[in-house]
Amino acid sequence: MTVTDYFLPRSLSEALDLLGARGPSLMVMAGGTVAMPLVNDGISLPTQVMGLRHAGLDELREEDGELYIGATVTLTRLLRQQALPVLSEAARNTASWSVRNMATVGGNLFTPPPGGDIAVALLALDTSVALTGPAGTRLIPLGAFYTGFMTNALQDGELLTGLRVPRVAGDTAFIKFGRKASNTPSVVTVAVRVARHDGTVTDARIALGAAGPHPLRASAAERVLAGSALGPEAIEAAAAVAAEESQPFSDGVASEWYRRKMIRLFVARALDRIWQGGEDR
């Protein structure tokens, strides 16, 4: 459909005002890498669109050990930051250079599976998302942001404005497995974080992409690891549980059967990478 209004607010308050005034029919777009293809093909026919590229939501800063990532920070900037190498790794493995120059971290949370690789890494880091509405900002865990396939916890009048990545303990590993080496849709994406004390796992996160309706944590597998001595046995057990509890799907890239096999394999490979690396710092 022919767009009659394209708004480019210059501030968050302007953006919120527009959202309030125009209501849910206002399509919100950041980098455009998910929305524009749909508009170009006539699959999405919005009349009113708000672009967030100039809304001042692109702050990237470290404070009190936390990393704050504005919703419209591009993947290229995420790749170049050095505070959290696992996020660089996730960004490096997402899309192509040109797309990374446009796509945003916030937008990655709205990317349908098998997309959403950045969100997988963020999940493993206990990231919270900041949802800002007329009444102010609320912080919720990223895991609670997703409510289903292409649905989320955003309420009318709210925008996703940023992400807070706390300082968390442990070692991390990120593996994206696709059909090709770069610029590839995911067969499975795995991010793991394991904190250990004297060889015993004190805290574990296993986050998966392309393994369900949205990026998700393999909580049962995390529980298998917790309290165990990280090693081949625990790794195998956790990987098997992760494969079992995930909800992979078939698409043009891979079948559900294959994805489940690869979830098991790459959870194991990611944990193995941490185990081989020895206990941290």
Partner: protein, 331 residues
């Protein structure tokens, strides 16, 4: 994690030109006032370099440098009929038509040159450097460009030629299939090396090395372009490509390049080739067609290499990691 390596070969032939013939192409050539030659066609260049190759054939026949040829294609108001660019036919069919047109234009040029130089036309030769020379008397010569100008302004003559090539259409015997399916055949033998990851089923193609026999090469760099690009496409066909990932089920049909899986530059194996030249009897200067066949032998060579590597023979393209894993599991 086991990574197993294997080598496979395949050897193929491929016909030049439309099956059964009946596919004409035509060309017109005329000289400009400054002695360049315009070749008028209605043939499409798909990127293989038709304009360049056809220009080389015209230049060869006329005895001028390649950059003296202006290719005017493709316009149905100015270019005579061409059946089209497919079936590995363009260099052979259009090339033959252009060569014939060039020889006719050359004869017209020689006729006027004979008058100008005061010799018989059959005493004149081209020296390969843009000159007309009286055979056995190198002192008597005139540049083609100058002769063409004189033909226009002094003699009022047209330096032009028509060319056409068609292999007449032949019938198929519906009972026995007796037919004449080609004008000539090119050949290739490919050796592929692969590495199979037995945990993921993923195949990395390490090298695709081939020998090709393609008749005479008009432009070796462009032949190499076909071989390298075709090898990559063959690898894509063998391992990745499908518009129906669950064929014959029509589910999950890709709609863009993120869903239609194609290998990228990071998957580029070593691709190299050696080319034999054994001229054909009916192609211009002995050419055969090379455009299509270059994707053919890499496919079975890769599939055979996978079997050699891991003992799984997949007869169902594309050979996805999933099929290999299922094959490994079934052993």
């Amino acid at each position: 994690m086991a990574k197993l390596r294997g080598t496979g070969i395949a050897a193929v032939n491929y016909p030049t030109g439309m099956n059964l013939g009946g596919d004409p192409s035509q060309a017109l050539i005329h000289a400009t006032t400054s002695g360049s030659f315009v070749v008028s066609l209605s043939s499409s260049d798909l990127g293989q370099g038709l304009r360049t190759v056809i220009g080389q054939i015209a230049a060869e026949a006329l005895g001028v440098a390649a950059d003296e040829i202006i290719i005017d294609t493709a316009d149905t108001d100015t270019g005579p009929h061409c059946m089209g660019t497919f079936a590995s036919r363009a260099t052979h069919r259009v090339g033959n038509a252009v060569k014939a047109a060039a020889l006719e234009a050359r004869a017209a040029l020689f006729a006027v040159a004979a008058e100008d130089l005061g010799v018989c036309a059959d005493e004149i030769v081209t020296d390969g450097h843009g000159n007309l020379v009286v055979a056995g008397d190198p002192g008597r010569s005139i540049p083609i460009a100058e002769m063409a100008t004189k033909a226009q302004f002094v003699y009022g003559r047209t330096i032009a030629g028509r060319g056409s090539y068609m292999k007449p259409k032949s019938p198929v015997d519906p009972e026995t299939g007796a037919m004449d399916p080609d004008s000539t055949e090119a050949h290739a033998c490919t050796v592929a090396e692969v590495e199979v990851d037995t945990e993921t089923g993923q195949v990395a193609v390490l090298s695709i090395r081939s020998a090709y026999e393609v008749g005479r090469q008009v432009n070796p760099a462009l032949v190499r372009g076909q071989i390298v690009g075709g090898a990559f496409m063959g690898m894509a066909h063998a391992l990745y490509e499908t518009t129906e990932p669950y064929y014959p089920s029509p589910e999950h049909k890709p709609k863009d390049f993120s869903e239609y899986v194609l290998p990228g530059p990071a998957e580029l194996p070593e691709i190299d080739a050696v080319v034999l030249e054994i001229p054909s009897s009916n192609g211009p200067y002995g050419v055969k067609g090379v455009g299509e066949m270059t994707a053919n032998s890499p496919i079975p060579a890769i599939v055979n290499a996978i079997y050699h590597a891991c003992g799984v023979r997949i007869d169902d393209l594309p050979v996805t990691p999933e099929k290999i894993l299922r094959g490994l599991g079934a052993r």
